[in-house]
């Protein structure tokens, strides 16, 4: 019963308070007890599960544009090695979800973590871990393919010697010295993918990644996703049609008007453990 009383008194002493009402000491005691209990529970859960922490963790993540909620209280955990498809109708919040996780947008309400780093408070660290492939390739049209990647390498803070290899991998070695302005949509998409690979991300956020790709390009995208997952990373892949990514997806979540659609079949019934030695 006295658990936490000593800690509460220590805190009071540290704060330099000579005397405190008994009620305040009791409240402090309860607070310290609850905090310690939470820490112990977390440690115990991690030890029992022996599971690595999730790569992506979202807690009631929400985003509002003006008066419209584009994302409503999305709670999600993605485990290392997991590839998650995100489906939903137009305007269901799929792209907004990726943009909030990528730190391009701040959440209006709720929190999110990438490898334990908070999306808002540790945004620069989060950006080191993520690779975001958006709808638009986001390239500089007056620069060549190589120059675009040189710029990316300098911004990532990495060496430029991997550029040739990445261009080879995405099949653009022949166009390395050409300006992006003359590239087809598919070539621009491949170059955007090359930039993503160059950053060596651990969490991929891909917004309709198969668009504008030929069958070889689709295989290339799948290989990139699989490589990241095999290395212990994970991926969130926004799709209109989940059949596109069925070769790589581990599970699919659905968004409807900004909220996660919960499949009743996936809901586990609540169970209460019976203490040993007592009748069930």
């Amino acid at each position: 019963m006295d658990f936490g009383r000593a800690q509460a008194k220590s805190l009071v002493n540290i704060a330099g308070v000579k005397s405190l009402p008994a009620r305040a000491v009791e409240e402090a005691r309860l607070y310290v007890s609850a905090s310690l209990l939470r820490i112990l529970q977390t440690c115990a859960t991690n030890r029992v599960n022996n599971a690595p922490p999730p790569t992506v963790k979202l807690d009631r993540l929400s985003r509002r544009f003006g008066t419209r909620w584009a994302l409503r209280a999305v709670t999600l955990e993605v485990q290392p090695g997991e590839i998650v498809g995100v489906i939903g109708h137009n305007g269901s919040g799929k792209s907004t979800l990726l943009r909030v996780i990528s730190t391009a947008l701040r959440p209006s309400v709720g929190d999110g973590w990438i490898y334990g780093h908070h999306l808002v408070r540790e945004a620069v660290t989060v950006r080191r871990h993520i690779g975001f492939l958006a709808h638009a390739p986001g390239l500089y049209e007056d620069l060549t393919a190589t120059e675009n990647l040189i710029f990316a390498a300098r911004m990532f803070g990495i060496a430029e010697d991997g550029i040739e290899g990445v261009l080879e991998r995405v099949g653009l070695a022949h166009a390395r010295a050409e300006r992006v302005r003359g590239f087809s949509a598919g070539m621009q998409r491949r170059l955007a993918l090359a930039r993503l690979i160059l950053g060596a991300p651990r969490v991929l956020l891909l917004d309709e990644p198969y668009n504008n790709f030929d069958p070889q390009g689709i295989e290339l995208v799948n290989d990139v996703i699989q490589d990241v997952a095999n290395a212990g990373g994970s991926a969130l892949v926004v799709l209109h049609d989940q059949r596109q990514g069925e070769r790589v997806l581990d599970r699919v979540i659905e968004l409807n008007r900004g909220a996660l659609v919960v499949n009743p079949a996936d809901v586990q019934p609540l169970t209460f453990a019976t203490p040993s030695g007592l009748p069930a």
């Binding site: 986001g138 390239l139 620069l143 911004m155």
Partner: protein, 228 residues
């Protein structure tokens, strides 16, 4: 080490902006042509009176730099918006001040290059003779350009998210530029007139103070204005 990486990022943005600008060419040519055109229009409006031309030279020059510079600032973010490259730029694992610093240096070089073209035109057109020598005049130009570019780069980033950015930027920028414009014009006028009241130094000091304030404020606030 982290600072060295950040400086590498700043240099990368400067290189990327200037390389894109150099290849597109149309941007700089249009801006320089506008600057010269403004000077010519001032010349026509003031008439053939040599004294009136000389008196108005500093003001006309700074207004030409200001109007032409606004186009340059808009273009600086247009490069990012054309290929939807602003979002990837913001998602690199770099502190946001590096983006502001890169854009600032690139814009400053652009404006200084612009001045290399329109200042000689102004000297010829307005029959300017620098009574206090050209070196102090160049110094004042540099100080004025730094304050102007700091504010211009900052407000261009703010306006870049708006669909009416071409209109919005001058509306936001010009009122804030009044102190810089006033100090730069007064310092330049005084120098061109031979600094008879010895007040060019005071105006230049005021200009330097504005530069520091605008630069520090822009660096600190950039992270918030560029956020979506």
């Amino acid at each position: 080490m982290a600072f060295a990486h950040d400086m590498r990022r700043v240099r990368a943005i400067v290189w990327k902006d200037l390389a894109s600008e150099r290849r597109s060419k149309a941007g700089f040519n249009a801006v320089a042509f506008l600057g010269v055109l403004i000077l010519l229009l001032f010349g026509f409006a003031l008439g053939p009176d040599t004294e009136a031309l000389r008196d108005a030279a500093a003001g006309a020059l700074w207004l030409a730099i200001l109007f032409a510079g606004v186009l340059a600032f808009n273009r600086s973010y247009q490069l990012e918006l054309d290929g939807a490259a602003l979002e990837p730029l913001l998602l690199y694992p770099a502190p946001r001040w590096t983006i502001f610093a890169g854009k600032f240096v690139a814009n400053l070089l652009f404006v200084l290059l612009l001045e290399l073209i329109i200042v000689p035109v102004a000297i010829v057109l307005f029959q300017v003779k620098s009574g206090a020598g050209w070196l102090p005049a160049i110094g004042v130009n540099l100080l004025g350009s730094v304050g102007f570019v700091a504010l211009g780069t900052f407000y261009a980033s703010m306006a870049s998210r708006s669909r009416a950015r071409e209109v919005l930027l001058p509306l936001l920028l010009f009122p804030m530029l009044v102190p810089v414009l006033l100090a730069a014009t007064e310092a330049s006028s005084s120098l061109l007139a031979g600094n008879p009241m010895r007040d060019a130094g005071a105006w230049a000091q005021l200009l330097a103070v504005f530069d520091v304030i605008f630069l520090v404020a822009s660096f600190l606030a950039f992270d918030h204005v560029i956020e979506v």
